[in-house]
Symmetry: C2
Subunit: 406 residues, 2 copies
Amino acid sequence: MEGDPTLRLRVFDLNCWAIRYLSKRRQERIWLIGDMLCQEDFDLVLLQEVWSERDYSDLKVKLGGCYPFSHYFRSGVIGSGLCVFSRFPILDTLLYQYSLNGYPYMLQHGDWFCGKSVGLIIIKISGIIFNIYVTHLHAEYCREKDTYLPHRLVQTWELAQFIRHTSKAADVVLLGGDLNMHPEDVGIRLLRGWTGLQDAFSEATHFEGCEDGCTLVPNNCFTDKSELLPFPLGIRIDYILYKAISSFMVKCEELKTTTGAAPGMDVPFSDHEAVMATLHIQRRGQAAGAALATAEPMLADVVTEARTEVGVGLRAAQRQRYSSGRMALLALLLLLLQAMAALGALAGLDAGQPFPKLSFCLLAFLAIGILLLATGLHLFHTMEVKMLHSTEEQMRMVLQTLQERP
Amino acid sequence: MEGDPTLRLRVFDLNCWAIRYLSKRRQERIWLIGDMLCQEDFDLVLLQEVWSERDYSDLKVKLGGCYPFSHYFRSGVIGSGLCVFSRFPILDTLLYQYSLNGYPYMLQHGDWFCGKSVGLIIIKISGIIFNIYVTHLHAEYCREKDTYLPHRLVQTWELAQFIRHTSKAADVVLLGGDLNMHPEDVGIRLLRGWTGLQDAFSEATHFEGCEDGCTLVPNNCFTDKSELLPFPLGIRIDYILYKAISSFMVKCEELKTTTGAAPGMDVPFSDHEAVMATLHIQRRGQAAGAALATAEPMLADVVTEARTEVGVGLRAAQRQRYSSGRMALLALLLLLLQAMAALGALAGLDAGQPFPKLSFCLLAFLAIGILLLATGLHLFHTMEVKMLHSTEEQMRMVLQTLQERP
């Protein structure tokens, strides 16, 4: 077995920032990405933020020769933005849409409309089964007061659970995507600790690219410089993570990132830098047991930390559910009062018209509007509470199991 | 290996019809179900329509002695209604919420608010790993013109894919639940064909209960007799399905259903009959390959049939997306016209007031209302189109693979 040849796998990962009508020089960049992918001989290409199916189709036509197999994951109103191109046949696919993904009324952020998900494709190379996951988690719009942290942690938890449950028959697990979390953030520690995935950047024998492996850098002409002020080198939020199960071994020989503008061009591929890993996969003599990357007492600490944050989100959601419910009730009361007044006037009980007709009607419409809106919000926050509660409960169960172990 | 002792597993499945404020004699029935479960020695209890967490908590307290392990799956506004009680420790859980589940505006049906899902629990008995799934699919309100069929087929497909992807390391797979489909319906054939699951009713050596294994029978005092008129014996829509993977063998020794009122009582447990299976699990000498229950050419026919129905749903959803988009546009146009007229009046361009103020305001409010409603509908149907399209595409890929095989 030790004599088995090593399989070399080249993986490309990029958040393409291809939002129709909004992203700058979108079509030109999609064209450039296609050109570069044709020239380079990657085995697997994992893309995010390809929001338009038209862009995917254009890429598919262009890459048909070098990457004959591909899959686009549809979800939400706009789409998940996730797609995969592969040199090897895609045997099966599955999509898991995260149960929480921001708020529909936060139109300026818009994550809710994307139906953020994790996509799984299964490929087999030289008899080795690869489970390839691609994902994009909720963005972080304000690091100091990150109101989306609980949602992102629920997504991280669901991502980790989805990987654990679907990868049991895989030989190699690979996850690529924009996780919108810094390497030391609780979410990354939770994901890595609970799945046993390794970070290609930390493990790479050879690295070339932006300092510290950053993928959102001030050098890139599309990034918002003011947002990156606290991080002069930039931040690392795009990852390639991997692990080998059963009797295989994966080593990251080389990791590269792009560094702003594409070579010989004045425009970068995206506002994110691409991550490119060269992995070596080899069969090993003795099968290793399923190992967690983080020692169990440390893992318990990470789960506790994540659970605390989810708990904070749960209490906020409960407060919002309560306020919206109260608001709906008040609007309903106002409507009932108005109905009684109108009936009274019709029955001739009133001496005179207490309100001018116009104001009366405007008030009624306002009350109906508030009632509908507040009811919608109440329903939404009820769902939010359910999912946060459920995640907190699952984390509690895991903690119990971890603590019960000798 | 052949000498290994046989493991006997007794499984109970019931749609409890426990809707707060709506289901008749709910608390009394939950009490009765709890009593009966305490008396009988089932190993696993799979319940649906336990919508209230309070009912679950009451059951949990009551069953704590005989079924010390349990899990409640939370989702949607009301909840998934799914829960499991077990004599054996629950090692892990996962919930998958179906991407389509009816329409939020069909308030009289209300399925949308339940966040219909499939729940997975993993247990280990005598070293054998069991993946236990519990689910409840969208109801069928009118068999002649079943507008929910495409959604139910998307759910069935997602259920089958979820089982296939998460059960690869399991020794035995077990699915219980209210599938809201008759045994010969395309959905059941698709589920069984694509997962290889076997129907406990068809496989049972010994059967006792309602004729043809029906679980919604005219004899039950809670069922709607008029709905069952075309089916004098009743219908079978609640199932226990199973399969063994790797080197195990499952046999259904006995299948029973309840038959209306509980023994010695005037009230049945629910409007559905419970399904109770006794399974025998034995290790076999030689591992069998992963087999599909349906021969491949037949499976291709079933997938084609299901895909056609999903296609019908897709076209209907596209029409609804178009109409709601057009309606939103018309409302927007009306608002713009009104805004221009109002601005004109303010600038003194108009000779007189073309409308009385009250009608003008009422019209504006009406236009705003229609705009909001139509936009919401348009977004919803856009998501619906995406998911139907995605399922149709996946089925097309599977068909291609099935047809390419020699």
